[in-house]
């Protein structure tokens, strides 16, 4: 029999599933607000339960065997959940993000018989299952449930862009699922088990084995596709830009980073014993991560469609997270885990601001919205604060994550990745601050290259009071800034080593203190340039513009929206991973 706290492990997955099945069964009988209330309560319940589990997992991971099928004679017969402290807190964060999103979307999806809430709850259950599981195939199942729920939610608006964006998203992420399943098949054939620990033991015994390396390539490619790493990132901008804003909050705030969370877990736990994988990973992950951070940041700066801008900024931050994993140390991974939470809080708040603008000002276009935000000052302040936090203002959870990642990179001499991360963060911060200045202060009459970026008319129902939308947004920011730093500092070394199944370390390294400030300064400079372009001397503007326009056009052409191109890039991406591992 399982001891007390571990008995709770199935509940954070089972509760949302039961609630959504019951909601579907009685879909036509439920009165108006009941789905909203039920969904919010279920998400809160998940958050509280996960937090409770996480707190109890501090002494060691909690393990639960479904159906009572505990391992016999070294063979893992059933599916297990294994929750370490970090996984538990990430699940708690996700539950909270959902609860706040349900509040944000209160009544937004009123006439759908709770179908929106059903999909969101399924999405939530899948994410928690993804965090908790210790079985390869079970990981795949939750991965697919996440995907399927996400596909349907993306196209909710039924606009042409939403539909074609959803198709691209679906096709690419389905391919990711197939790759992952192929990898699982290979590793199962080679090791004879699906359990993380079982595979890890067999891999460590096996020595250099092309099958294990191949399996890792396939699984890693799948998780990087979910995590929107260059050159798999194309789907993200198409999908996140067109999804309803409450859905985008979840996508950017948790789905993308969860892909990388899975990658961190798989490479640290399952493939820890493969020297080939461990040798190849640092170069592969830091290189791809740096490239992603820069490309995402640059693209974000060039957008005028707010949600598309935020989507590219998510790509950039995913790159930074990947460099954190690439350090392959407790500092880097620990920093990355904190970063996941901090980024989710800040990015969620930003997408909520975008949703507020969509609902109250009926537009999402930065240039069209210029000066229109004056009546909703609090949203502007929230956006500015979020922008500053995004580029590295040294307070709050996101900053703590950044310092962890930067510390690990500095310690291991990945100077380029360190710089790329700082520049990427600065670029996305500059983009958000510029948009905030233009929308809420009416600055920046002269729109530069942004004007050529794609945009589209869009609006969302204006049926919710402003405070109801603003409250969850502010709650996210307050959480990010207000969470006591020493709590995280205290728990992080222990949690990160438990997450990676390594002996505990005492402290984690921290990056140079001046680096975040540099990012903030660069972001402010970038935003100021965008907003005050008309007041600068002409030769400055012209020379900067000349260096901007050509790469901009090339990059925008690369993000062509054509599914065929994306499929070709996907093959290239897998080939890059294979080549890097083959050389290791």
């Amino acid at each position: 029999m399982t001891a007390f706290p571990a008995v709770l492990l199935p509940l954070p997955v089972a509760i949302p599933l039961v609630v959504c099945a019951a909601m579907l069964a009685t879909a036509h009988l439920l009165p108006g607000r009941v789905p909203d209330i039920l969904a919010t309560l279920a998400a809160l319940g998940v958050a509280i339960l996960s937090a409770f589990i996480a707190a109890h997992a501090a002494d060691g991971p909690l393990v639960y065997w479904f159906g009572g099928w505990e391992p016999r004679d070294g063979v893992h017969l059933g599916i297990g959940f294994s929750v370490d402290e970090a996984s538990g807190w990430v699940a708690a964060f996700i539950g909270l993000l959902y609860a706040l999103t349900f509040v944000f979307a209160w009544g937004f999806f009123g006439r759908t018989h709770g179908h929106f809430q059903i999909l969101m709850l399924l999405f939530l259950a899948a994410m928690v299952g993804f965090c908790f599981t210790r079985d390869m195939f079970n990981l795949f199942v939750w991965f697919e449930v996440m995907s399927v729920a996400a596909f349907a939610l993306t196209a909710y608006h039924l606009e042409e862009s939403a539909l074609s964006g959803a198709i691209n998203f679906t096709v690419i992420n389905s391919l990711a699922g197939f790759l992952m399943l192929g990898g699982i098949g290979l590793i199962y054939a080679q090791t004879g088990t699906l359990d993380f620990e079982g595979i890890a033991a067999a891999v460590a015994r096996g020595g250099r084995d092309p099958v294990v390396a191949g399996a890792f390539c396939l699984v890693a490619a799948a998780l990087m596709i979910k995590g929107a790493i260059v050159p798999f990132q194309f789907w993200l901008a198409d999908a996140h830009a067109v999804a309803p804003s409450p859905v985008s909050v979840i996508f950017s705030g948790s789905m993308v980073s969860l892909g990388l969370f899975g990658l961190a877990k798989v490479s640290a736990v399952v493939f820890a014993g493969s020297d080939q994988v461990q040798h190849g990973l640092p170069v592969l992950l830091t290189a791809l991560g740096s490239f992603t951070a820069l490309l995402g940041g640059w693209m974000a700066l060039l957008q005028r469609h707010l949600k598309r801008m935020l989507a590219f900024s998510t790509i950039s931050h995913a790159g930074i997270m990947l460099t954190g994993i690439g350090a392959l140390s407790a500092d880097g991974t620990g920093g990355m885990l904190v970063y996941v939470v901090g980024h989710g809080l800040v990015k969620g708040a930003l997408f909520m601001v975008a949703g507020i603008l969509l609902a109250t000002r009926a537009s999402i276009d930065e240039i069209a919205l210029r000066g229109l935000g004056r009546g909703i000052g609090p949203a502007g302040i929230a956006m500015a604060i979020a922008g500053l936090l995004l580029c590295g203002l040294p307070i709050g959870v996101l900053d703590q994550g950044t310092r962890g990642v930067q510390g690990a990179l500095a310690q291991q001499g990945h100077g380029i990745a360190l710089a790329a991360g700082a520049i990427g963060a600065a670029l996305t911060g500059a983009a958000v601050l510029r948009a905030a200045g233009r929308i809420f202060l009416g600055l920046g009459p002269d729109s530069g290259d942004e004007a050529g970026a794609p945009s589209e008319d869009e609006r969302e129902k204006a049926n919710r009071p402003l405070w109801l939308m603003l409250a969850p947004c502010c709650a996210l920011l307050v959480l990010d800034v207000g969470l006591p730093a020493h709590l995280i500092e205290h728990a992080l070394p222990r949690a990160a080593s438990a997450f990676m199944h390594r002996p505990a370390v005492d402290t984690v390294a921290e990056g140079p203190g001046w680096l975040p400030w540099m990012s903030v300064l660069a972001a402010l400079a970038g935003a100021a340039y965008g907003l005050l372009r008309d007041r600068l001397p002409a030769f400055v503007v012209r020379s900067v513009g000349a260096t901007q326009s050509a790469p901009t056009r090339a990059l925008e052409a690369l993000h062509s929206g054509l599914i065929g191109d994306y499929a070709a890039w996907l093959a290239v991406g897998v080939a890059i991973i294979v080549a890097m591992l083959a050389l290791a």
């Binding site: 009685t26 159906g67 399924l122 099958v211």
Partner: protein, 258 residues
Amino acid sequence: MSPRARVALLALAALILLPGAASVIAGLPPFGATIARYGERINAITPEARHVANMVSAINFDLRGLDTLGEEFMLLAAITGTVILLRGRRGEGKTGRAMRRPGRAVIPRSEAVVLACRIAGPLTALFGLYVVLHATVTPGGGFQGGVILASGTLLIYLGEGYVGWRDAVRSPWLDALEGGGALLFALCGLAPMLTGAAFMQNVLPLGTFRDPFSGGLMLVENLGVAMAVAGGFTQLFLEFMEETREADEPDEPGEESA
């Protein structure tokens, strides 16, 4: 990117991927030589431990029941998504639009078609039920049986026409069937926890080996899956068919009978 550039890019990737794939294939155990320890072990212990003959059902509903739970809810997500996406177009209030189209007479079908469908319908339903109920002893189970049951309802469409079909098969009932089946499955997981057992641990009598009523809790879960799948796939067919009906065309039986 032009199509040619795209194919060139693919070929470039293939240049690297092919040797990689070749070395992986060379590293795998030869085809048909051996099977994994996990599967071997399950074949060895499950007939005795769970009194079931069909190992695949035992894995799906007991050993790895959580996967099937996730799978069932994935289906539920897809069908809910389909409903949202298709109905959003038509408007939620008009789900039954084609069902009640005034002023249109039901064109009679040929006697032979009606008769054939009326005979084949119950037979298909019976076969579906057989497949569902014999999950633990013969190939098949809730999923396969559910799909067969759902296809059976299509025979109502062929035999009785679209209006008859829509009259017989109502969307809220399907929601209830689908959600209820999934709920039953999820509760099968939770209920044993009340008795102190693990999630989805068998607490019912196991029955006799090779008897259709063997496997205990598996049978209930199987029933839940069958309900969810039958309801879900019927809903899927229904919403898809509705999509072809919006244009004002004559109600012709058998147009989709390929």
